[in-house]
């Protein structure tokens, strides 16, 4: 199951960054997000997977599609993007060097005990609710409230930025 999900995620991600058409990139992004939600289901974090599907796949992808439609018809139809060779090679070098470093650190350290993930039980919903709205140690009411204020600030900021400029004078 993990191998299928990994194949879907990595294949869709590669297609997402290499495809020319921007609409296809958004569609492949949707597949990547569903695959990541499947990984959360595999880790028995059902609530996280549901949040991933509803926020990312439901909200953010819709927003991208609307933005693509708004930005223009010329972009939609076969956006001829001049991918220069030197830039591709540079990006390739940067990613491969970084990937080699990170994978080496992950595989060669002694901190991560090389054990299979234990087949944990699903986190019960009342534990999540109590932790999310409690104010003791290891409880998260402050970030929860802070993120609501942050979302409000982002709504106002988005409206102000995207508003049509009024004709001055």
């Amino acid at each position: 199951m993990f191998c299928i999900l990994a194949f879907i995620i990595l294949g869709s991600a590669v297609m997402c960054v290499t495809t020319k058409k921007i609409m296809r990139a958004a569609t492949f992004l949707l597949f990547v997000l569903f695959g990541v939600a499947g990984l959360y289901f595999l880790l028995d974090y059902t609530y996280l997977a549901a949040a991933q599907i509803s926020i990312y796949a439901g909200g953010i992808t819709m927003m991208y599609i609307f933005a693509i439609q708004l930005v223009g018809k010329r972009t939609l139809q076969g956006m001829v993007e001049r991918l220069r060779g030197c830039r591709i090679i540079g990006g390739m070098i940067v990613s491969v060097i970084g990937l080699a470093t990170v994978v080496l650190v992950f595989l060669k350290n002694s901190f991560i005990t090389s054990s299979a993930l234990t087949d944990g039980e699903e986190v019960p919903m009342d534990v999540i609710g109590n932790a999310l709205l409690g104010s003791d140690k290891y409880q998260y009411v402050l970030p929860f409230e802070f993120i609501s204020v942050f979302l409000l600030a982002c709504i106002i900021g988005g409206i102000i930025v995207a508003r049509k400029e009024k004709e001055t004078k």
Binding site: F2, I9, L10, A13, V14, C16, V17, I22, A26, L29, V32, V36, L39, Y40, L43, Y45, L48, A51, Q52, I55, Y56, G59, I60, Y64, A67, V71, G72, T75, E81, R82, L83, R87, G91, M92, V94, S95, G98, L99, V102, F106, L107, I112, S114, S115, A116, L117, T118, D119, G120, V123, V127, A131, Y138, Y140, P143, L151, C154, I155, G157, V161
Partner: protein, 103 residues
């Protein structure tokens, strides 16, 4: 169950696919999509580390991942607002077209 290293290698691969896309693409929305790939890789890492370190009980990485999803939603909303405004002013959505504030 699979070994835990598989999750880390998968998230590292996803992260650097996102970095590659961010470096190569010159379209603002495509760059934003690459950033979403990077954020998803980090969220996988948080969840996998939480499952490995705290098999029962604490939910540190769980909530970190949950709040990260919320923050990235807000971030992409503001970024799309900026992109639409840029398109309205410059009639282009390539990063090369925004050079007024470069110097």
């Amino acid at each position: 169950m699979v070994p835990v290293e598989f999750y880390f290698v998968l998230s590292a691969l996803l992260f650097f696919i996102g970095v590659f896309g961010f470096v190569t693409r010159r379209n603002l929305i495509a760059m934003l999509i690459s950033i979403e790939l990077v954020l998803n890789a980090v969220d996988i890492n948080f969840a996998a580390f939480n499952r490995m370190l705290f098999p029962d009980g604490q939910l540190e990485g769980f909530f970190m991942s949950l709040f990260s999803i919320g923050v990235s939603a807000a971030e992409s909303a503001v970024a799309i607002a900026i992109i639409i405004n840029v398109y309205r002013n410059f009639h282009s959505d390539q990063v090369n077209s925004i050079e007024n504030m470069k110097y």
